[in-house]
Symmetry: C2
Subunit: 196 residues, 2 copies
């Protein structure tokens, strides 16, 4: 094998982990979220810009408002998940760059003076961090259910502000009964990789 | 601790792993790339759309053409890395959906009939897969050097076609001398997470 990552970790994060569609009612604690964040915050982003923002939906009232902006197939999952997170990109991330990038304090002025540049960078880098977050949930022994079948603009308007772009909603919890479909096929290497 | 992932795996993937700026000349083999792909291909994407495409730059000629489209600070790293990958999103990923999503064979017609919808989905989901790829490189005991300080449009024109959007270039190899800057600060949980 060419991997040095322990096989049990490979299974936990990738091979046996699955997108859960049902959950038990076991709660997900703030301590678990803290542990997940303290792991995935180290995942790389461009200039350490760290634009991911996470809105944890804990109140029943907020959850009911959220599912009104989701595809009808996704709403029931989010209504029953122990915890739900709205992931967004902060398009004004550059405000934190002097702290986040101490060796290049004027990076914001050089590279991100235009809002369009910031939006493009924030969406890409917050998406990277969304993947770290999904794997971090799995690292905590939980199942993630990421969904993009949602009305991103409506959720942004309902819960955030114009400086945030909603990327996805993630259900979080222990998998319940019949939690997933059969594993779908993957592309072969030669369908994905070209060598030049 | 709230994580079940082995601490050594946490270190390998997140805590001790760093974005490398220098590399040894030890080659990265096709077998290593196969092992990385066979792990990360299981990472979730919306409707299993799997839009990430990877262009491995192995010839000196292609590498020299590539660095002409990179920021001057990034070019030297890419000239000396054992292996370089261009990561792109396939905006015509829906062609593979009947194979990738056997339980919903007409998903392409329902959700991705417009090119603009495909481009948006491909960029987000290929970014998720880019993060899986970065962590997969680390899982193989290698260092990744992802870079967005590149002319994405020029690289697309030089090496790909109009159906692909370039996301980043990733240097791959064993870290060399003085491979990284000191670890930069991260945001605190309460700067990132809001509870509603």
């Amino acid at each position: 094998m060419s991997l040095v990552l322990d096989p049990a970790a490979q299974d936990l994060l990738f091979r046996e982990a699955r997108t859960a569609n049902t959950f038990t009612d076991e709660p997900v604690s703030d301590e678990q979220i803290q542990a997940i964040y303290d792991l995935i915050k180290f995942g790389p982003t461009a200039f350490n810009q760290s634009p991911l923002r996470i809105t944890l939906v804990r109140s029943q009232e907020a959850r009911e408002r959220l599912v009104q902006h989701m595809h009808e197939k996704n709403a029931p999952k989010t209504l029953t998940a122990p915890l739900v997170a709205i992931l967004s990109a902060d398009n004004e991330f550059q405000a934190e760059l002097p702290y986040l990038l101490p060796f290049f304090p004027n990076a914001a002025e050089v590279f991100y003076s235009e809002r369009s540049e910031r939006e493009q960078a924030a969406s890409l880098n917050a998406a990277l961090q969304s993947a770290y977050f999904i794997l971090g949930i799995r690292a905590a022994g939980l199942a993630a259910g990421p969904m993009t079948g949602i009305d991103q603009a409506a959720i942004q308007k309902e819960f955030l502000d114009d400086d945030h772009t909603v990327l996805m909603v993630v259900n979080i919890g222990k998998p319940g009964e019949d939690a997933w479909f059969p594993r779908s096929p993957r592309l072969e290497l030669d369908q994905v990789v070209t060598t030049i």
